[in-house]
């Protein structure tokens, strides 16, 4: 009886640790989100970019984008909320829009087209993957196994 109880406690502990790992795996996924204030064409219709968009994430301004500009923020988890302060024309009135998105797990860098989001277009129109340009690198890197990192 005592052995059975002990075994059950061990199984429950193991299951708890595995569950915690799974939760961390899900909630800890990091992304770099890029905001584009660029005009776009979707299904034959052109969407112009506003004069200025300010992006706030968690109460902090992370980007102030004029036409054709790009900003970025890093975020953890799949849920993403931002507040857009949009000024359509110079000296125009500022409107505020709150946006909630689910970020795809399989993308490290995500480009969001803000005019498309403002226009209420579907995900395929406003979201794309950011692919960094390949960097020219030397053929190989010297492996350093210097114990104290002092060098010669």
């Amino acid at each position: 009886m005592k052995n059975k109880k002990s075994l059950l406690i061990k199984i429950a502990f193991f299951a708890g640790v595995v569950a915690l790992a799974v939760v961390m795996f899900i909630i800890g996924r990091g992304h770099t989100v890029y905001f584009d204030n660029q005009k776009l064409e979707y299904e034959g219709k052109a969407y112009e970019c506003p004069y200025k968009i300010e992006v706030e994430v968690k109460g902090e301004r992370v980007a102030k984008l004029y036409a054709k500009e790009r900003g970025s923020v890093t975020t953890i988890g799949s849920g993403f909320k931002m507040v857009l302060k949009i000024t359509q024309e110079q000296n125009g009135r500022e409107t505020v829009q709150e946006i909630s998105l689910r970020l795809p797990r399989n993308m490290d860098g995500i480009v969001l087209n803000l005019p498309a989001i403002i226009a209420g277009l579907p995900e395929e129109a406003y979201l794309s993957e950011f692919i960094a340009a390949p960097v020219e690198e030397p053929e190989d890197e010297e492996i350093v196994t210097d114990e104290f990192g002092i060098g010669e």
């Binding site: 640790v17 915690l20 961390m24 800890g28 350093v144 114990e147």
Partner: protein, 377 residues
């Protein structure tokens, strides 16, 4: 009846106190001379020492349990550090950031650490009385396996997706892995700044829990068994304690905690020196513990705190003090490396000398007692 044991007078003489605390006193003198020469402000020094305390204490605490079990200084803690690093490389590749990344890395490191600790414990059971040199050689042997894993298997067999982690040839991990996504996330979780000194509150809370765990663990049945094994294996065996199993458990616990400690250490650093971090920490933690007044057979939480403060103060001020004395900062740099090894050497020599002295004292007492017994007859 023959009664053996060193005669205890209760009070210790000045020379006994001096000899027992030789290493910490030497470091207090080194620091007292070097601090004014370095020209660093007290605020800067405090900031640096507090940062290094948060970075190193957990790792150093992992050394206490094998000492308690009589296995000496666990040079095999680098095995746990390797496990922590492997877990962090995988978590970095999966792009799990911040505290969740750290927690996941800790969980992932557990099976690696258990496996390595089990292996180390089993080997050390075959080399009783020579645990330190055995664990030191095991750490070098496993370093080779680690390098094989990280240099050839990762990217070839174990999928590594991100090019920023891989060597340009397409497999193997780079010399430095960035942990920018989790850099000081734990340290800054509860921000506190007192007079310009940044206190990593969350890290200290975890350290406090670890200290409480050690205090509690010593009082448990397993903890008592470990102390008994540490004092005398034969007596412990006679008392019904499974000595081998207890020693293996102590190695496993130490390795798992070393893995956790390495993750805390590296989140503070913000990058992994893939082929060097684990080797460095093993040596530095052992040296720092000895500087704190610990010995091969006895160490406490207090030794950890004193050691990290003294050793790292010396580490911070040595290059500048060296520059002030010789005009070359590299002298100070070499000095601190030389001191790390010297302190370990001195501690081991003192331990061996003390052991021999006690042995010869006991021999003399035994001879005297036998002589007295003969006279009585």
């Amino acid at each position: 009846m023959i009664r053996l044991g060193a005669p205890s007078t209760g009070k210790k003489s000045f020379s006994e106190i001096l000899s027992a605390n030789f290493v910490p006193l030497m470091f207090i003198v080194i620091c007292a001379v070097s601090i004014p020469l370095s020209g660093f402000s007290i605020g800067y020094l405090l900031n640096e020492v507090v940062t290094r305390m948060g970075r190193n204490i957990f790792l150093m605490l992992s050394l206490l349990i094998p000492i308690m079990a009589g296995m000496g200084l666990n040079f095999g803690m680098t095995l746990g550090a390797m496990a922590g690093q492997i877990a962090l490389i995988l978590v970095s590749d999966w792009q799990i950031w911040g505290i969740p990344g750290m927690v996941l890395a800790m969980i992932l490191s557990i099976p690696f650490s258990i496996g390595l600790g089990l292996m180390c414990g089993k080997i050390m059971n075959q080399a009783k009385g020579r645990e330190m040199v055995t664990s030191y050689i095991i750490s070098h042997f496993m370093n080779g396996i680690y390098q094989l894993l990280v240099l050839y298997i990762m990217g070839n067999v174990i999928p590594i997706m991100h090019h920023s982690l891989k060597l340009p040839r397409g497999y193997g991990i780079r010399n430095t892995v960035s942990l920018l996504s989790m850099r000081q996330k734990l340290d800054n979780l509860i921000p506190l700044n007192i007079g310009g000194v940044k206190i990593p509150v969350a890290t200290f809370i975890i350290i406090a829990f670890m200290c409480l765990f050690i205090v509690w663990f010593k009082k448990t049945k397993l903890g008592q068994d470990m102390r008994a094994v540490g004092q005398d294996m034969d007596v412990a065996r006679e008392a019904g304690i499974d000595v081998e199993k207890t020693r293996i458990i102590s190695m496993i616990i130490s390795t798992v905690f070393a893995g956790f400690g390495m993750i805390i250490y590296l989140q503070n650093m913000g990058n992994i020196a893939t082929y060097g971090s684990h080797v460095q920490v093993g040596m530095f933690c052992i040296a720092a513990l000895l500087v704190g007044g610990a010995s091969v057979e006895k160490a406490s939480i207090g030794n950890v705190f004193i050691g990290v403060m003294l050793f790292h103060t010396m580490f911070i001020v040595a290059p500048k003090a060296g520059e002030a004395i010789t005009g070359d900062s590299m002298i100070g740099e070499y000095f601190r490396v030389f001191v790390s090894y010297a302190v370990i050497t001195i501690a081991i020599i003192m331990y061996e000398a003390k052991k021999r002295k006690t042995k010869s004292q006991l021999g003399r007492q035994l001879a005297l007692a036998q002589k007295e017994e003969g006279n009585e007859k």
